[in-house]
Symmetry: C2
Amino acid sequence: MLDADAYAVRSPDTPFEPLSIERRDPRSNDVVISILFCGVCHSDLHTARSEWGGTRYPCVPGHEIVGRVSAVGGSVTKFKEGDLVGVGCMVDSCQRCEPCREGLEQFCDNGFTGTYNGPAQETGDNTYGGYSSTIVVREEFVLAIRHPEADLAGVAPLLCAGITTWSPLRHWNAGPGKKVGVVGIGGLGHMGVKLARALGAHVVAFTTSPNKVEDAKALGAHEVVVSRNPDEMKIHSGSFDFILNTVAAPHELDPFLALLKRDGTMTLVGVPPEPHPSPSVGLLVMKRKSLAGSLIGGIPETQEMLDFCAEHGILSDIEMIRMQEIDGAYDRMARSDVKYRFVIDMASLAPAAE
Amino acid sequence: MLDADAYAVRSPDTPFEPLSIERRDPRSNDVVISILFCGVCHSDLHTARSEWGGTRYPCVPGHEIVGRVSAVGGSVTKFKEGDLVGVGCMVDSCQRCEPCREGLEQFCDNGFTGTYNGPAQETGDNTYGGYSSTIVVREEFVLAIRHPEADLAGVAPLLCAGITTWSPLRHWNAGPGKKVGVVGIGGLGHMGVKLARALGAHVVAFTTSPNKVEDAKALGAHEVVVSRNPDEMKIHSGSFDFILNTVAAPHELDPFLALLKRDGTMTLVGVPPEPHPSPSVGLLVMKRKSLAGSLIGGIPETQEMLDFCAEHGILSDIEMIRMQEIDGAYDRMARSDVKYRFVIDMASLAPAAE
């Protein structure tokens, strides 16, 4: 087994602490990765604090992982020592079912293995995520990173926030000639704005905060609407091809459904802890609109997104922290006090850095 | 003006009574129709009793109209005296907007004119529907009927119940190799089952009533599920490409959303008087499912449906009534006590018949 340094929580209400963990000896198809940076996703907080239930402790979160290959198994063909690589929300799946064969491993009929809070496919063991010095992942779930190395920290959030917005934007054909809304300008939404803009859509950002208007324009939104202002909303009535709604907090969906044109779709990527108010069936019926959901994205589309971002120079806007600052970062993230993603510099884990 | 006999209500809580109305003198593009049969739709009841608000009195309902052409205007080319024709939920629209040009007049940007409870496009007058001896309708909203004349009464409900289920079944590609659910076995649902079966789909009917199981099989369902039985429901988990939900009463959507496969859609064609319980976002997200709405159908697809039904010998199952029996029929319809559509024999309106 390979020893690794990690940061873990041992219960829902205790702070993070250092933990020595073991990674499996690499199998023939495994890639061993020295983690350089790891993004901090809201799901990390939900899981660490067991807000969704079902957390196995100790819990080592982190599924926005970038690093360098330090070793590969004998049958690995896509990667070699020294390569820059990424790992997202999944580290395994059955690889046999129809969704897996289609490259939609997030919909694996047998359930994908999360990068943390497992269980691992064969052993049922807990999995440990990216708040760690090292991770061992089968080749099929390792992504190639083609960004310049200097940009690496800003690449990390693409592995979850990036793909979670990219996948629905692509699936519902955001692009030239399309008017696309992005609701919520946080970790997910700020990537949604950047990606939709780069895909060629006319992008309208929605925020409840008048003080985020300039920020959203700086991210690339052509227009920004303060969604609490009915007059501003009304101007856009019946005009959107697609709305990507990144807000997980319960909120009224109808004001956004009203902005869709005929055959338009609003897709939710956040699961609210309590239900949203029930959407108006009349709004759906009168113009054949759809309300949909979307879950992260498959491995091939994640690679496609990373390559697109490398080509277009797209990165997440980040605030770098040391591993030891993670509890404070969670508290700030819970208040939406971050522009727009915390990323942990894993060099801070090394003994010399402490 | 043309004199016509009709049955009307004068207020939400008074019974139907005979009323003499006037139809406009035919314009050059108008078709004058002697009405032979008119189906009784639940919308008739909602409107007559002003349950949706906004009813203009006197109110002459009826938008499942079949009859014979008695005269045509000088520029009419598609119809001639003696032709069997139908009129559905719409009698006019702007004919200029994008939806109208696409043949989706139900989504007319300027609002279509309902066959009853108008307002008429230019005059703003109230429109009077099919509980009447005669109607005058512009050629573009008149449908050709190619069924044998003896089947005419069973054709009438195709003009609303038929197209309202046909349009979503076609839009969401019900056909060979697809597993399609139809929720609710009433006026709409019984047509949904017949049409989905004839389109080549594997059809599963859902009913809350164990005593409707055999009826639903007789209509053409390959399988029938009693939706109140969780064990029966569970067998179909994650297996449907498409579910057509015809139930307007508020009900839990989640048990049906759970039956959709990845990328499946459930489409609602009934608007509940009070909201359904809010659908689970988790169910939408986990398999990229959609919840959608659909509204009647456009004129070209209504003609397509009528021709398909003529070719396949598809009719609505009906119970014939005399015009004078309409109040009792409404009471029975409100209790879902009809298999599956009342149709009024308009011969009963003639003085000799009274």
